[in-house]
């Protein structure tokens, strides 16, 4: 094992993030069931969120929360991880949930209307 920590971590984190994105994409592009497609979308979202957090991570950093003890952690030469990606991902997760909920409600309505949830059966609008 001549891989150092950073390489392992980047393979592990980036790899799983990109893997999630690709797997999700596969589900969206290939799977016919609407629910499966929505699952794919949420997997893509998860991958991107992971990627975002990974980008903000700093080796040896601590969470950007000032506990009473370590109040001057930055000044003392300590490191904190980048807080901005975390804040953004927080927002993105909630938005992702909202979109998923709307998507699933549409799936329910499509199923009611067409009695099927296969996307290739639902194409009364075309050309």
């Amino acid at each position: 094992m001549d891989l150092d920590y950073n390489q392992i971590m980047s393979i592990g984190v980036y790899g799983s993030a990109i893997g999630l994105i690709l797997i999700g994409l596969y589900a969206v592009l290939i799977k016919k069931h609407l629910t499966k497609i929505v699952i794919g979308l949420s997997i893509i979202d998860a991958g991107i969120h992971l990627l975002f957090i990974a980008i903000g991570y700093i080796k040896g950093g601590t969470a950007p929360i000032f506990s009473p003890a370590g109040e001057k952690i930055v000044a003392n030469g300590g490191v904190m991880v980048d807080p901005v990606p975390q804040a953004l991902v927080l927002t993105a997760i909630v938005i992702g949930f909202a979109v998923t909920a709307v998507a699933l409600s549409l799936v329910i309505r499509l199923y009611r209307h067409h009695q099927t949830a296969r996307i290739d059966q639902i194409k009364s609008l075309k050309w």
Binding site: Y5, M9, G19, K36, A54, L90, I93, T100, Y111, T116
Partner: protein
């Protein structure tokens, strides 16, 4: 430090396996539970990467709420992915690319 890395690798493998399972599983209920697992592992990832806020959010929203919303949907639609189409319209769209 190396411990973290090993944990990450193991989790990554489980994560991707769960993702593949979620995509390939024909029974949507299991697939949805697999997505819950993805969220769970993701939340651990976030925790390891010093993002407790995000981990908490992912745990509450990703694991609990998203999953339950999916389950409600499945209850209202069809559970199997390979449901028999209602109208036996020939699938002309299969190879239009």
């Amino acid at each position: 430090m190396m411990f973290e890395a090993i944990v990450i690798i193991i989790l990554a493998v489980i994560l991707l396996a769960a993702a593949v399972y979620a995509v390939m599983q024909k029974d949507l209920l299991y697939a949805v539970i697999a997505t819950g697992v993805i969220s769970l592992i993701l939340s651990v990832f976030f925790f390891i990467m010093q993002a407790p806020d995000v981990a908490l959010t992912e745990a509450a929203i990703g694991i609990a709420l998203t999953t339950i919303v999916f389950i409600i949907t499945i209850r209202n639609t069809s559970r199997r992915e390979d449901e028999v189409p209602m109208d036996h319209e020939p699938d002309r769209n299969e190879n239009d690319n």
